[in-house]
């Protein structure tokens, strides 16, 4: 299994390389540059700035320089946040984003899982229809709608939770962003578990468990639920990716100092190095997370062997 993990990581290197290359050139295709402002700078100033940040070199050389620096762990200085390197910015933002994302993931799986199981056990009942309706709603309403509405209702009208902001270690400001981020995933997980559970409940081995007089808690909790978890575990990878994308919006709306924010601002400001840094971190994260999911799958399902 260790050998498999190492081979998978080695296999991810070309993937990440392709991602970096694509992101690098796409950024440069976009018109404008980091130092274009409403009031154009004097020609000489512009040239000096470009020279200082290596932007006057031919593109291929800039690319190679970037790759070289990256290999040494240097993601370069930010063009906009002067006096900060991209490394410093990401180091500060990453823990916030990871906290936000993992809490949302946890919430999605606990709440979504519970809803899905209840709906499956009471198939075609009012509870089931309610869950399916709410889930459809959760998937269709985008989080840039949910976030301001929640912020308005709970932060302004009811005034029970902060409408935005973040304080490391404090729970209250986390509630609304985490709920917003988790909501679509709650819906997806509930639907997935419901479907998998319905299938598991009619499977032959669950029939065996029933025929052998096992109490409902064992039939459902052990034999059906474990089988139903498999498709959900494989959804963990895409879910993590979806949460990262979602965090871009949620962090911007709630004013959270995570790395999702840098993505948006960096792209708008043509802060080349900041965007590149975020892309690299996110790509590595997704690759590693998918590997962890695959290994987890083998732990749950003994039929899966990696060697």
């Amino acid at each position: 299994m260790l050998g498999y993990a190492l081979r998978r990581l080695a296999g991810a290197v070309p993937t990440i390389f392709v991602v970096i290359t694509a992101a690098f050139f796409l950024m440069r295709i976009a018109p404008g540059g980091p130092f274009d402002q409403e009031r154009t700078l004097e020609g000489q100033v512009m040239e000096n700035l470009n020279a200082a940040f290596g932007l006057s070199d031919p593109l291929w050389r800039q690319y190679l320089t970037y790759l070289g620096n990256l290999l040494q762990g240097d993601m370069g200085p930010s063009f906009i946040y002067r006096d900060f390197t991209v490394g410093t910015l990401l180091k500060a933002g990453l823990p916030v984003s990871v906290t936000l994302g993992s809490l949302a993931l946890l919430l999605a799986f606990l709440v979504g899982g519970a809803l899905g199981v209840v709906a499956a056990l009471r198939q075609n009942s009012a509870v089931d229809h309610l869950v399916v309706t709410v889930a459809t709603f959760g998937i269709t309403v985008p989080n840039f709608v949910v976030a301001p509405v929640l912020s308005l209702v709970f932060g302004v009208w009811l005034d029970v939770l902060p409408a935005g902001g973040w304080q490391t270690g404090h729970l209250a400001p986390m509630v609304l962003p985490v709920v917003t981020l988790a909501l679509p995933q709650v819906a997806v997980v509930a639907r997935l578990i419901r479907g998998a559970m319905l299938e598991a409940l009619t499977s032959d081995h669950v029939r065996t468990a029933r025929a052998y007089g096992l109490p409902a808690r064992l039939v459902v909790g052990v034999h059906a639920l474990r089988a139903a978890l498999l498709p959900v575990v494989s959804y963990l990878g895409p879910a993590a990716a979806a949460l990262l994308t979602g965090s871009v919006v949620v962090e911007s709306i709630f004013g959270i100092p995570g790395i999702g924010r840098y993505f948006v601002q960096g792209a708008l400001n043509r802060d080349y190095t900041l965007v590149m840094g975020t892309v690299v971190v996110v790509a590595v994260f997704i690759v590693v997370f998918n590997l962890v999911v695959d290994l987890l799958y083998a732990v749950i399902d003994p039929r899966v062997r990696y060697d």
């Binding site: 007089g213 109490p215 474990r226």
Partner: protein, 546 residues
């Protein structure tokens, strides 16, 4: 007869479907005495399985049971799950048909057995484990200490069925319900499993209710038999009487449905298909290769049938696909004088119409989105593009008529047909192209015996009418004996023995062939021999190697 321990009265089962309620069981009475072996026999759709599912509270969600099923006086129908759970799994246990899926794939088998012990006999974890090992030993699973922690996928079909039996015996039941327990197994394994159940029954003194379609098993195993059809009891009595003097036509038809007779030998003719030293190898990781087919040669002449018989994993289906160049193979296959091995799909196309195939599963082999007429005519659009649509339709209707289906059915979709009719459609699709040779891969294995007999008769008639050559693959020796001129017995990818059908069946030269034949035709003798000396592992088991 002593007082019955299970007594069923006027049991009815109906299922709510979008087309209204469907009655699967229409008022059945049944009594089972302690220690008795009763067979419930019927073809698919007779309601024989649903009868016991209803008594055990295991009907699908849309099913309802009415009537009465009493175990030692306690009414089971309508009993709350909590009370029912004291009976099922403890006093009445079940073995199911599908050894592949009836065990939880995510739990070690020992844990599944121990679970029932802990729930019903309230054993401690350690005591349950100790008892589990004893049980696995009782069902003669080799190396039980190690097997307790095996997962179902690490065991063969026969081994899994032994685990199921161990689970069924765990809490010393009064009644064992065996629902087609050996239908999915090879014949030699079937003989072993049946011998095991018979032996355990005499040692432990439980009653057995055997649900099956196989009259061979009934005769070898049971004392009393109940014949079901369309949810009703047709006939009931002791086994000897039913087999020698059946009262009902339906019972007589079932008894006569065993394949019989032999094929008249084809006149000698130059071969049209000649295979030399065919091999198929699959990579199984780390550079290792599995020889699924190894050095098989065969010739096939017009009007002739070569029967290929073997147990699962013997390579017979792989050989069939290699003969038709449907998968990469070594060696050489010649059709008439053309070597076809290794031809690309495009190069192969001119020969395809002459070499057709019929598959086992009549449900999976027909596209559900096309009408039957379109399915049968489809091959003509490729192989006879010069024909107009009207001519293609006419030929499709003619082919359907030839397999005994009304041309008006051409507009219907496959799901409107029964299994036997679908297999006729698959045959029509092959013969519409006027093939020279047909490869038939278990063409009747998914069908009821009575339907099988009709399809076999159809195949023989078509062969005689068109001088067709058949490669007929089956695990069922009775079928092979009825249709083949020559027989090849395969095991582990190799031909163990081959020769004219009569010679193979009357004077088999190898031990393996003798085992197969004994397991298929002489179940009673095997069971009798095993039971008189249950510890002797018969020669069949040395082959099966479970």
């Amino acid at each position: 007869m002593t007082a019955p321990i299970l007594s069923i009265r006027d049991l009815r089962v109906s299922f709510a479907t979008p087309d209204g309620p469907v009655e699967a069981v229409k008022g059945i009475d049944l009594d089972l005495a302690a220690g008795e072996a009763l067979a419930v026999v019927g073809e698919s759709g007779s309601g024989k399985s649903q009868l016991m599912m209803a008594a055990m509270g295991l009907l699908a969600k849309n099913g309802t049971a009415r009537g009465s099923a009493r175990y030692r006086g306690e009414e089971l129908i309508g009993l709350p799950a909590r009370r029912l759970n004291r009976v099922r799994g403890a006093k009445i246990t079940m073995i199911f048909q599908e050894p592949m899926t009836s065990l939880d794939p995510l739990q070690p088998v020992g844990r599944q057995i121990a679970e029932t012990l802990r729930v019903h006999s309230h054993l401690s974890a350690r005591a349950a484990r100790r008892r589990t090992v004893e049980l696995l030993d009782l069902v003669r699973l080799k190396d039980p200490e190690r097997r307790v922690s095996a997962y179902p996928h690490e065991l063969s079909g026969g081994q899994r069925q032994r685990v199921m039996i161990a689970m069924a015996l765990a809490n010393e039941p009064d009644i064992l319900i065996a629902d087609e327990p050996t239908t999915a197994l090879d014949v030699t394994i079937q003989a072993e499993i049946l011998a095991l159940i018979a032996d355990l029954r005499t040692r432990l003194g439980m009653a057995i209710l055997f649900i099956t379609h196989d009259l061979q098993i009934v005769r070898a195993f049971c004392e009393r038999v109940m014949v079901m059809r369309d949810g009703r009891v047709m006939e009931e009595g002791d086994v000897a009487t039913i087999f020698t003097a059946p009262r009902e036509d339906y019972t007589r038809m079932l008894l006569a449905a065993e394949p019989e007779g032999t094929k008249p030998t084809a006149p000698p003719a130059p071969p049209i298909l000649r295979a030399e030293n065919v091999g198929v190898h699959f990579a199984i990781g780390r550079g290792a290769q599995l020889a699924a087919v190894d050095g098989v040669s065969l010739t096939l002449s017009p009007g002739e049938t070569v029967g290929i018989v073997g147990e699962s994993g013997s390579g017979k289906s792989t050989l069939a696909r290699a003969l038709l160049n449907l998968l990469p193979a070594t060696g050489e296959v010649r059709f008439r004088d053309t070597p076809i091995t290794g031809l690309s799909r495009r190069q192969m196309r001119p020969y395809r119409h002459a070499l057709q195939m019929v598959f086992q599963d009549p449900y999976g082999a027909l596209s559900p989105r096309l009408t039957v007429g379109e399915i049968v005519a489809e091959g003509l659009t490729v192989h006879a593009p010069e024909l107009g649509a009207a001519e293609r339709r006419a030929r499709a209707v003619a082919a359907l008529a030839e397999v005994g289906l009304d041309g008006a059915m051409a507009r219907r979709f496959p799901h409107e047909f029964s299994g036997g009719q679908r297999q006729r459609i698959a045959i029509a699709r092959a013969i519409v192209l006027k093939p020279a040779a047909l490869v038939l891969d278990e063409p009747t294995s998914a069908l009821d015996r009575s339907v099988q007999k009709q399809v076999l008769a159809l195949l023989l008639a078509l062969q005689a009418a068109h001088n067709l050559a058949y490669v007929f693959i089956s695990h069922d020796l009775a079928v092979i004996r009825a249709v083949a001129d020559r027989v090849m017995v395969m095991k582990d990818g190799r031909v163990v023995e081959e020769g004219p059908t009569a010679r193979i069946f009357e004077a088999p030269a190898t031990g393996y062939t003798r085992e197969l034949i004994a397991a298929a035709f002489d179940l009673s003798a095997i069971l009798a021999a095993r039971q008189s000396n249950p510890n002797a592992r018969g020669s069949a088991s040395t082959i099966a190697g479970t």
